[in-house]
Subunit: 206 residues, 3 copies
């Protein structure tokens, strides 16, 4: 049997990390949908990001101390790094909304936040699936869905950016929104990076 | 003998990938030189980029399944990743030309595209050279040329950006062009990253 | 004993690289504090960056040829890569000051340069400390200080960016300053990346 109890903890820790990313995504969705108490909500997203940092630190410390891992050590490092990137971009969006004193998120921001929620949920399911590499099909289906969501996010952000640059009269406003859309899109890109790593693990071990 | 037939396929696959990057670079050069049927030409560059994704996927799958590789597995991963970055930046330039509804590329854009063609051709030659590590000098000469081209691209893009920021009256236009020049320069940067990885392989095995 | 004489050279080389980064940081601080002979000072920073490239090249060549290393080969690669990033961002700031024909750096730019000097000095101390992994506490204290400085840099750059976007009337000026502050902040971010890698090494070997 590939998995020994001691390694079990990696799955528990990975799951915790990906669940924390989903929590952050949902908080972002709530923030942009219901744009009230922005500072308080932003603070909570920052706390979720800090929680992610602590979890990341823990798993890396465990990795550095454990010599047997359920799958390639470098894949775990990469997974953890990309999961951390997702929550970092989620927090960065929040930060920009505050920093640029955005009055009201556009409907495209709301749509992107929804895509990020869906995508992080698929990421979480794919990661939970890693525990059972004998059923690779299920894992790969989540990866395919993550790719589809990334494409959709890409389409939304490209269209709104094209519109923004055609109609903008205030360049400073255009810079602000461009950065916000780009950060939102980066979050979905990082979900796709996670899917790519998971696919690699599946190919190696399934 | 270091190379066994089974590993031969890595060289064939690597060569295919780097040839595909050259194809993408040439399509970009054609697009910006002869700025007609822009949407159709952009579509073809996107197809070349997709082709690159498929080739990348294939080599990574093969890597994950093969235990003996002609040189360090991580170097192959890095090479493939950076080659993919080159074609991604080429496609991103095309995308921005369309997205920002650019009427006509400047002569600096054309010059940068030419540099990218030359650089990707050198990348392709260096990669083909990897099959014959007993002649490291030839491989390294291509790497030196890639570095020279990156410096030239850097100079072109720095000068045009300085000019742009001195003379621009329309900030939105400045943002658009800045992004296009930066993406063009990133393509040459990624060629240099490939050269660095190849130099590392040469030092290790030659 | 873990360290054999042949490996000693890695510490000497790493120390040289991190000292070179401190030199670059101090030159940047001098440039922005005493904004005279800007072109000459910028040229010297570029030379420091080139010196860093040569040192990086040497250590990577040595790494590729040596099979026994004092700690994980990949950690040394990562360390060297991030140290190179720090000096690259320092040089990039200089480059932007010239490129954008900045008349006078703001007091926030000076503050950020000071933070970068302090942070690179801590980086250097932490790297020197790696030779003596039996005293991990000292090394980790430097890492904590690097994290504190990164937070401070983050705070300075966020506040000035918020102010900039609130008060800017000239969007092109806003773009220029935004890029300069972001590059300054990236230098402190890369110091933090170095601290993270060092913490990992300490956990593994101490």
């Amino acid at each position: 049997m590939r998995l020994i109890p001691r390694e079990e903890k990696f799955f528990i820790m990975l799951k915790k990390i990906s669940e924390n990313v989903v929590i952050g995504a949902k908080k972002l969705e709530d923030l942009v949908k219901d744009y009230e108490n922005v500072e308080q909500k932003a603070k909570e997203i920052l706390e979720t990001e800090h929680e992610g940092d602590i979890l990341t630190h823990e798993i890396i410390e465990a990795l550095n101390k454990t010599f047997v891992t359920p799958f390639d050590r470098e894949d775990i490092y990469s997974l953890v790094g990309r999961l951390d990137d997702i929550i970092d971009y989620i927090e960065a969006v929040t930060d920009k909304l505050l920093l640029y004193k955005i009055k009201k998120p556009t409907k495209e921001v709301v749509r992107m936040a929804q895509i990020i929620v869906e995508s992080t949920e698929e990421v979480n399911k794919a990661i939970v699936g890693l525990k059972d590499l004998k059923h690779p099909r299920r894992i790969l289906d989540h990866c395919i869905e993550i790719n589809r969501l990334e494409n959709e996010g890409d389409k939304v952000s490209r269209e709104i950016l094209a519109k923004l640059f055609e109609t903008a009269t205030d360049a400073i406003e255009a810079i602000k929104w461009k950065e916000i859309y780009e950060h939102l899109e980066m979050a979905t890109d990082k979900c796709e990076d996670v899917a790519d790593i998971i696919e690699g693990v599946v190919v190696k071990y399934a």
